[in-house]
């Protein structure tokens, strides 16, 4: 059933646009290229991020893209599917999971962008690339937890969706996407470790830039907080589930 719902959603999404799947590739690719032009070519190399910058950007850009799209869409999932929730005996969390899986499939389909960037920069990853799938798993769990909590809150207070969108803007600059962890001043780094995305993005990049993980403690804390977010999100959802059903 879940598979059917996910496929349905993907189908309707892709049949609407003429280039369908191409958009999944084009959007992050073009964005990466623009950012690369601005920060690397126009402004000159100012030790922002690591080299090659185009690859450095796109490796973090795709997960970030997945993160914002997935969270922004799933926050509304209970509200948008209120009528369906009323007649569905499926587990309530399926409605969030479905939106999340759709964005995950899109993310996986956009991975060729990294391959393109690797070809363009001729920079093959080292053995630590094995952490890449682990990063995907960690990000999925983190997203699932906060999406459940946020979607439940959004049923009670519809403002949550807007708040989340704002928070996403801020988080873009607060996460090491344009820059590397080494660009963060040393005394702020413990603070940055509180952001689960620091650890997750680090895991994505470690295959190319092992030096990204210089402080294991910070990454451990960051990933730990990601895991805790998952548990907390699940608990929040469980407590609000009956409210969600009532409001539907």
């Amino acid at each position: 059933m879940l598979r059917m719902l996910v496929l349905r959603e993907l189908q309707t999404q892709y049949s609407r646009f003429r280039f369908g799947y191409l958009w999944t590739l084009l959007e992050p690719l073009v964005l990466s290229i623009i950012l690369w032009l601005v920060f690397s070519v126009l402004l000159g190399p100012r030790h922002l991020g690591l080299q090659p910058y185009l690859l450095f950007l796109s490796v973090a850009m795709l997960p970030w893209w997945w993160f914002t799209k997935g969270i922004n869409a799933s926050v509304r999932s209970f509200r948008r599917n209120a009528a369906q929730l009323r007649i569905s005996t499926l587990p309530t969390q399926f409605w969030v999971l479905r939106v999340l899986l759709v964005s995950t499939v899109e993310f996986l389909m956009s991975l060729p962008v990294v391959v393109i960037a690797v070809i363009l920069t001729r920079d093959l990853p080292g053995p630590l690339i094995v952490f890449y799938p682990i990063a995907i798993l960690a990000q999925f769990l983190f997203m699932y937890g906060i999406a459940l909590a946020l979607a439940s809150w959004n049923v009670i207070a519809p403002d949550v969706a807007r708040l989340v969108r704002l928070a996403m803007r801020g988080l873009f600059y607060l996460s090491p996407i344009l820059y590397s962890v080494s660009n963060i001043p040393a005394h702020v780094r413990p603070l940055a470790a509180l952001n689960p995305l620091v650890g997750i993005l680090g895991l994505y990049r470690i295959g190319w830039w092992p030096q990204e993980i210089e402080d294991m403690l910070h990454y451990g804390v960051s990933l730990g907080i990601g895991l805790i977010s998952f548990v907390v999100g699940w608990v929040v959802f469980r407590r609000l589930e009956s409210r969600v059903l009532k409001e539907s």
Partner: protein, 290 residues
């Protein structure tokens, strides 16, 4: 008031034990309330919709529920089907109870009849493997044969309700919780409904139906329940229940009229799909970082 009860020596299908539930007070939609909502007003207060309900519905029984809109009859149906979680007590089910509660609201108007059958059927418990076989039969039952590839938009509400009912009863489950939207005043369709439901009843299917005119659905009801302000005031035969309900004032208009279906649609319009998927694209930095 009398609280007669009929017992049959059969397995229990649904069992309520001291069940109570608070529901947000339904609100009327007008400009004022929308404005307040936009300004961030929290969800409305919760009121006890059902309190202290203990009830046991044997498998194979046909129960008609009478009650005004604010009596809690919809909540009772949803609790029986498990699409609501009680705040007090517990509800036990022996098998799946199909929630046929305003199914039409869950349909997508700009999808075809076939697509809707797949989606709604799936939600109500049909698996894709049996779907192919059932689709033409569902359409036939709803009187929509040959219109499978048509979108719902040109169909009348009556046709959509018929389709909703047809999908529900074709799930082949052993128990159904049906609200009044699925037949209502559609008298032309009543004979089809009656025929189909009598046949299912003969097969031992359990029915819990909220309706003011249950005789439109079925001839031989085992039991009638009358709900008033969240409690059961009579649990007896259909004939007696009808009398009790009429004494209560029948279809009274309540302070709290239910406009929930409409509301659900409106809210979904607020934040359309377009917006969701177009968002997040403009994370382009406008200022230099740091």
């Amino acid at each position: 008031m009398a609280r007669l009860s009929i017992t049959k020596d059969l397995d229990v299908m649904v069992e309520f034990e001291g069940v109570g539930i608070r529901m947000p007070r339904a609100r009327k939609r007008n400009v004022n309330s929308r404005l307040r909502r936009f300004a961030g007003e929290a969800s409305p207060e919760q009121v006890w919709r059902l309190r202290d309900i203990t009830l046991s519905i044997p498998a194979g029984q046909a129960v008609a529920i009478f009650g005004s809109r604010s009596s809690g009859r919809e909540a009772l149906l949803r609790l029986a089907a498990g699409t609501l979680i009680p705040d007090e007590g517990c509800v036990r089910r022996q098998a799946k109870v199909v929630p046929m509660i305003d199914v039409a609201a869950a349909m997508t108007r700009n999808m075809t009849v076939r697509q809707n059958i797949y989606v709604i059927g799936g939600l109500l418990g049909l698996t894709p493997s049996v779907m192919g076989d059932l689709v033409p039969r569902i359409a036939h039952l709803a009187g929509l044969q040959g219109q499978l590839e048509r979108k719902l938009t040109p169909l009348t509400n009556r046709q959509i309700n018929r389709l909703a009912w047809s999908i529900g009863v074709m799930t082949g489950e052993r128990a159904f919780a049906i609200d009044e939207t699925h037949i209502g005043e559609d008298l032309e369709f009543a004979s089809t409904v009656k025929e189909r439901m009598s046949q299912m009843r003969a097969e031992g299917v359990t029915f819990i139906v909220a309706s003011d005119r249950p005789e439109l659905f079925l001839d031989d009801w085992d039991r009638g329940l009358v709900l008033d302000h969240g409690s059961i005031v009579a649990d007896t035969t259909l004939a007696e229940a009808t009398v009790v309900y009429e004494q209560l004032g029948g279809t009274d208009v309540d302070d709290d009229s239910d406009l929930r279906t409409e509301e659900t649609f409106e809210e979904r319009d607020d934040l359309g799909e377009e917006e969701v998927w177009e968002e997040g694209g403009d994370e382009r930095p406008r200022k230099r970082e740091r």
